[in-house]
Amino acid sequence: MRRYETIYILRPNLGEEEINTIIDNTNAIILKEGGTIIHLDRWGLRKFAYLIKKESQGTYILCDYATEPAAVFEMERKFRIDDSVLKYMTVKLADDITAEKIEQAKVDIATRKAAKESGESDENDDSDDDSNDSDE
């Protein structure tokens, strides 16, 4: 098992349900190969630094997971076919991850999130999905 992190960007005109279906389908691919989702973060609508497929903004979804390489291939193949995915990027975080480490990572993320919420909110943590137009 390897640990990966994928950011994918969906078209801005998609409805909440369509976004959910895409996320569910993606997660299903990971789970099918015996993987685990460590963390899923929806950044919501963000403005791009440059145009992607003639769109100026899109819905960012960050998924942190552990799975076999085959699942990543399959996932990226689906992304390429799917027209509503504007762009994706997968980063390998660790070559080898055990079940204990996965649990540890989950705990780490949960504690960090709790700490962040109690403290000052981070700039690029757009947990709101709707009407987050803070960026000009």
Binding site: I7, I9, A49, M89, V91, N124, D135
Partner: protein, 80 residues
């Protein structure tokens, strides 16, 4: 004996070395990265930002990743 050259430049220190040794520069952490890019989106050279070689390398990777996923521009002004 040659005259002593006056050097006015202050010794710069790497921002990442002084803080946490363990922090890996993350491409999603735009707050930190933004300090190391010019207004036109270029990566600041080491002689200006003062980062050490190790961290400049990591920073460079992070900026390039952020560019790939449209968090930072390849060229042009920085959003926001």
């Amino acid at each position: 004996m040659p005259p002593i050259k006056r050097v006015f430049a202050r010794k710069k220190v790497c921002r990442f070395c002084t803080t946490d040794q363990e922090t890996i520069i993350n491409y999603k952490d735009l707050k930190t990265i933004r300090y190391f890019i010019s207004e036109r989106g270029k990566i600041m050279p080491r002689r200006i930002s003062g980062t050490c070689a190790t961290h400049q390398r990591q920073l460079c990777e992070a900026i390039k990743k952020a560019r790939q996923i449209a968090l930072l521009p390849y060229t042009g002004s920085i959003p926001r």
